[in-house]
């Protein structure tokens, strides 16, 4: 077993791949602004539908609900699970910054060290960046969240 493979499949990732926090599309709080996104990786068939809602009552900038439904490899499923844990109750801007930082580490081909202070459990995915073919797997839920929030946001402005 190479150390790269151990790095890729850290225990926390294998556990989240089974736990799948946030799995199963949830009803969103009445009146909240809801956005949904469906993402597909056509090369491997990984798929995710992610639903996110932001508070309607004067706290539009905070996430009130995140849930998802999907199928795929352990990296994509664990990534959705970790994201669900982290995103809830986060400020929207803060969350967007987190997504950007995660993306930057993922695309670094192993050159960027993941900052656990900022990325929390998502830092466990830093090993993925050495496997360019797997970056899409790790990003799937995160990109879906970005899109879902955009959709929810466009409803706020209406």
């Amino acid at each position: 077993m190479s150390s790269e493979l151990q790095q890729l499949y850290q225990q926390i990732i294998l556990e989240h791949a089974k736990l799948r926090h946030g799995a199963g599309l949830a009803e969103t709080p009445e009146g909240d602004k809801v956005g949904e996104s469906h993402m597909l990786n056509p090369t491997c068939g990984d798929e995710i539908t992610l639903r996110a809602a932001v508070h309607a009552d004067g706290q539009e900038r905070t996430l009130s609900s995140i849930s998802w439904d999907g199928q795929g490899c352990s990296i994509s499923m664990a990534s959705a699970s970790v994201l669900s844990d982290m995103a809830l109750s986060m400020e929207r801007d803060e969350l967007m910054k987190l997504v950007d930082q995660f993306r930057e580490v993922m695309r670094s081909r192993g050159s960027l060290e993941a900052d656990e202070e900022i990325l929390g459990d998502a830092a466990a995915f830093s090993g993925v960046s050495k496997y360019p073919a797997r970056v899409k797997c790790a990003m799937l839920a995160w990109v879906a969240l970005e899109e879902a929030l955009l959709a929810a946001n466009s409803r706020i402005q209406k």
């Binding site: 499949y9 294998l14 090369t43 491997c44 068939g45 199928q71 490899c73 352990s74 990296i75």
Partner: protein, 438 residues
């Protein structure tokens, strides 16, 4: 004629291929000597693309070093030599499948070859090709029949042809084990059927379809037969005349040749009656500002400057295969296929797609690992230097039918050893423990 090194494998060693001969064969394939992730490469992805022997690489290099010129035009010596080796390549490859030289059209790959056929039908339906092309005209109510196990390359072009012409696309279903449900064939193949397109050997299931039975059914209703021979021509003896199909397609890169070259076989009388697909230079007789008349097959379908070095290299690949012997290659791969399936069936949580051990299959096996996604299986194997294919193998409908999204596939070739298979099996046995699946 080009002077290229002959394969170091001896001409038709008597008897069956064994590991000793394979080790000698492997010396001809430079890439098989490399390491991947600190392990000797175990290449089990030949169903996707095969590796190239030195004689093929050298044939392409020799062409560029000595003969490079535009073919079928120009009076200079290089142009004559280039044309000679290009047409000699056609003779070699057409002879390899039992066809005449004017029945083998070069294409980029099998996908383009199938598209060529569909667009010829389409163009005939649009009124091109005159009276001769009438047999290729499709109308509302006509049926195009494929099977549920087809590679996307032998499905989507037919879907598009149906959309363009108003014909209906139907298919022969497979059962829960992936076997073609021939008992339903009589209700699917009807007097309305104009085309029957199916794969010779399945790239997922490893099964060899009953060509003779299907051709007989097609003949009874007067339908054209199109054979996807991508997984058969590289691996077993194929004689298109004996099979009596109307068209057959295959890709060079799956049979020791470079990418960018494939072929369409068609009966001469059909090819000569079909309107062309790609048009332009080199495929014409007389051109005015309003009209053009076209050459007969194969030039009719080879517009523009062609893939000359690739054709030459494909001929070198065919020479290599013939010197080893297709019947012997097939027998060796059947042995490896059985070893794969027998071994996989002994590992907990593995479901092999297609026929089980002891039943006929070519030298490949696709399988599902319970609780572990194919992508993760492939990653785990790659870490040990083992190259396999993961995903739907361009056969989404078949996977859906079998209740799966993605599988892992190991596929062998003449350069695969029993050690390759055993290393793969040992690694697969470690997959579920590594991912903590019980």
């Amino acid at each position: 004629m080009p002077v290229v090194s002959t394969p170091t494998t001896l001409k038709h060693s008597v008897g069956a291929i064994d590991n000793t001969e394979v080790l000698r064969i492997r010396n001809d394939f430079p890439i098989l000597n490399r390491e991947v992730n600190g392990h000797p490469l175990v290449y089990l992805d030949s169903g996707a693309t095969s590796q190239n022997p030195l004689s093929v690489i050298e044939a392409e290099q020799e062409y560029y070093e000595q003969r490079n010129a535009a073919v079928h035009r120009g009076a200079h010596s290089l142009a004559v030599e280039a044309t000679d080796v290009y047409e000699a390549a056609r003779e070699t490859v057409s002879g390899f499948i039992g066809a005449r030289t004017n029945e083998l059209v070069w294409t980029s790959n099998a996908t383009e070859a199938i598209n060529l056929i569909t667009y010829a039908f389409s163009n005939a339906t649009a009124g091109r090709g005159g009276e001769e092309a009438e047999p290729f005209v499709l109308k509302q109510g006509d049926e195009i029949v494929v099977t549920e196990m087809e590679h996307h390359a032998n499905l989507i072009p037919w879907q598009e042809l149906a959309f363009r012409t108003g014909a209906t696309l139907t298919y022969l279903p497979v059962d829960d084990d992936g076997a073609l449900q021939l008992e339903h064939a009589n209700t699917v193949i009807t007097p309305q059927t104009k085309i029957l397109a199916f794969t010779h050997a399945s790239n997922v299931l490893g099964t060899i379809n009953p060509v003779e039975t299907l051709v007989t059914m097609a003949r009874e209703v007067g339908a054209f037969v199109v054979l996807d021979a991508c997984q058969s021509v590289p691996h077993l003896p194929v004689d298109v005349k004996a099979l009596d199909v109307d068209f057959a397609v295959f890709s060079g890169h799956k049979m020791l040749a470079p990418t960018g070259i494939g072929a369409l076989y068609g009966k001469a009388e059909l090819l000569n009656a079909m309107p062309p697909f790609l048009t332009g230079g080199s495929m014409i007789t007389t051109v005015t500002m309003e009209h053009a008349a076209y050459l007969p097959s194969p030039t009719r379908f080879e517009a523009g400057t062609q893939r000359i070095s690739q054709a030459v290299a494909l001929a070198a690949a065919v020479n290599y295969l013939q010197e080893t012997g297709m019947d012997r290659i097939h027998a060796w791969e059947v042995e490896l296929g059985q070893r794969l399936v027998t071994g996989l069936e002994q590992i907990d949580g593995i479901r092999v797609l297609g026929p089980g051990a002891g039943s006929e299959r070519i030298g490949l096996a696709a399988f599902d690992v319970d609780g572990v996604h194919a992508h993760d299986v492939g990653q785990f194997l790659d870490d040990k230097g083992i190259a396999v294919r993961v995903g739907h193998h361009c056969a989404q409908p078949l996977h859906r039918r079998l209740g799966l999204i993605a599988t892992t596939r190991a596929s062998t070739y003449l350069y695969s050893t029993t050690d390759d298979v055993d290393a793969f099996l040992e690694a697969v046995a470690g997959v579920r423990p590594f991912f903590g699946v019980k």
